[in-house]
Structure formats: C-alpha cells, structure tokens
Symmetry: C3
C-alpha cells in the first residue's frame, strides 16, 4: 500500500508542474529541503555543478517568482511520465524513493518531443500533513536541455 500511496504523491507532484500550478510546487517540500537538477554526466564524475539547486523552501518559492517574472516568452508545456518506482524504508518516518521519468515538452509553436529522461532520487518524510520531500534530485541523461531558464522537473 505504501507503493500506491507514494505513487499517488509523485503523481500529484508532477500534476502541479504540468498544469501550470507552480505556486503549489513548494507545498510538497519540508522547510529545510534540498532540490537539485543535475546531469548524470556530472553526477558520475562527482562534479557538483547542478542545472538548478535550491536549499530550503524559500529558494524554491523564489524560483517560482523568478519564473513568473521572467515570463517574457510563452512557457513550454511539460508532461511528466513516471515508471520503475523503487522504495527503501529508512526509519519509521522516512523512505527513499527512486523512479524513472521522461518529460514530453510541447513548445509554444506546438511541437512535442522528448525533452528529458532521467531518474528521481528522493527522500520523503512523514509529517503531520502527510508525506513531504526532504530532498529531491533529478538526475538527467539527456544533454540537450534548456539552461536559460530552468523549470522544475
């Protein structure tokens, strides 16, 4: 049942991004969280040069404000798809979750393509309000990524 529950949690997470509800994105994290998007190439070489890195919920919220204010062109539309969920129980209140993802991107011109494939490495913790993200790392294989204005994955 934990698998079904966390699968629904991941589904809610990607829905917020995919349906342009970015203001809800931070609600999935605890206050002292880590969020990172990093290429597998850098990860494997232990080169800590992430495409995006947010330490703490304030940076996560700032990121959304930046994206909204930097909206000088139309946003792409992302559609995330998830598979290969794997769980490892930590202590009673935490779980390590990994899952593969692919993001299908539709450009403002209406062209849809594979934008980014990779794997999530998440640590979730149980809070009074339910599961929250303590840390989330999106490690992507695809090298052709937009670096101008990094969007949440």
């Amino acid at each position: 049942m934990l698998r079904v529950e966390l699968s629904a949690f991941l589904d809610d997470y990607i829905s917020v991004i995919d349906n342009n509800q970015l203001e809800l994105w931070s609600s999935f994290f605890v206050d002292d969280c880590l969020y990172e998007i990093i290429s597998k190439e850098n990860e494997d070489a232990s080169m800590p040069a992430p495409l995006m890195r947010c330490e703490g919920i304030a940076m996560i919220r700032d990121r959304v404000v930046s994206l909204r204010n930097a909206n000088i062109y139309e946003f792409p539309i992302y559609r995330h798809f998830i598979s290969g969920l794997a769980l490892k129980r930590g202590d009673a209140d935490s779980v390590d979750l990994t899952a593969s993802y692919v993001v299908i991107n539709t450009s403002p011109a209406g062209f849809s393509s594979v934008y980014q494939a990779g794997r999530y490495y998440d640590r979730l913790v149980q809070t009074e309000g339910g599961w929250r993200i303590k840390s989330k790392r999106a490690v992507y294989e695809t090298l052709k990524v937009q670096t101008l204005l990094a969007f949440p994955i």
Copy 2:
C-alpha cells in the same frame, strides 16, 4: 482505492484503442455522452472547433464504422501513456477525472514518434455495469496532428 479503480478503468480504455479493438470503444460510454478532441489553443481562446466531436453513443459507433470503412491505407499504431491522475468527487455517483496523456505513434512504415500530448478532462458516472464515461474531452497541446482521419484518443 478509487484512484486505483479509475486508473484501471483508464488503462482498459486506452488498451482498446491501442490494440485495435475499436468496436469495444463505445462500451466505455453512457448513451447520452459527449466525446471531444480539441486543441488547447482553441480551448484557451474559447473557440469551439474540435478536431472530433461525438454527441451520443450512436455517433461514437458511427465513427468506428467510418474508420473501418475508410481503411484505404494501413492504420497507425497508437500507444497511450497516462500520468498525473487527479480526481474530484461530484455527487455519490460521479467523479471528475483529469490525467495527462502522451500518444506514441508508429507509422505503417515503422517509425515511432511522439504524436500527441495533452490532458483528459473526464466526467465518469457509476452505473450498474460499473464506471462509464459521461463526457470525455481530450485537450491536446501538439499542433502537428493528422486531421484527415481522426482516430480516438
């Protein structure tokens, strides 16, 4: 558990389309149903010019007959993938379901690509035979779509 149940319902729905069992497609709908495929562009502009629109189960069945009779060339093969399921209970016997989809299309020549990405906006109702579709709207972002012979999504 409703989530698991409706996820299975969606899975059955796409299987029928993806496995060339179009004659079973209408069995997912109630008699007085609505089915529509419309671009997000038109949807956002409130321009009601859908790519396909069927009012009532008879039109849904007619559509399949047309597709079968118009089979002057080989059909493409669709593979639907679903994510980001979100549910909102209406009254006791109905539920609003939205979900992202991507259709991977393999052409008769054997070339596979991202064909269409979008989001379903469904209203399901509980019947004696189980869940059925009262209305289903597939709102797609991808602008490069075949309009010659619209296939169910």
Copy 3:
C-alpha cells in the same frame, strides 16, 4: 489487488534493465523460460525470426555476460514506460499479462528519443519466491531498431 501486485512486478523488471543491474534480470524468470523480442511485422506474418530469443535461464544469463564482455562502447540508457495492463487468469498459479511499453533511449552522446514501442505478452507463474516469468514476448512495432547488440526489453 492482483493488478497492483503485477504492476509492481513489471515495474521491478524494467527498473533492473533501466538502472544497469542486468545481472538481476534472470532472477525474474523460472528456469525453463522463454524470452523473445520479435517485430510485429514478423509476428503477424508468422515468420519466426526474432531479434532475440532465449530458451531457458542459462541463455538469459549468457546474454548478460555477452553484453558485458561486448562492452566495447558505452551503453545506451533505456527508460521503459508501461501502460494498458491487461490480465487473464489461467489456472490458480498462472496469469497471462499483456501491457504496452515504450522505451526512451538516451545515446552515449546524450540524445534522447523514442527507441521502441510495442506490447509485452507474458505468462507469469506463482512460485515459492513470488511471481516469475514463464514466457515473455516483446512484440515491437518500431522498425528502426539496433540489431547489432540486442539489449533486453
């Protein structure tokens, strides 16, 4: 609940392939198993010329050894996505499972694309260690596939 259970089984299966744990691949099969990757074109024409065919778990293990030893170039990274799960109970200890799949491939150069779409036709059997694969056939529609060094699907 069987659906949830077998969906998790499939998820575990693809995780092993997608996360470069090929040595665990054989653990999903019973000893006297069949594994086959075949094009839909050949399948429909009853032409038994599979891209890969392993009879028995020893051939499955050999295949992994070959792939590791033949590793003269970097491996691609696969990400499998599954949908449209359909189950048919055989006797008490077996079940026929079919499901659509798409494999997103990222080349060593970092380019991600749709690599192969198709459908699994599996027979699973209940063993003391849980569900195992008696036979698995991956029937793919995509004709543009690497034949040099066939990787598990």
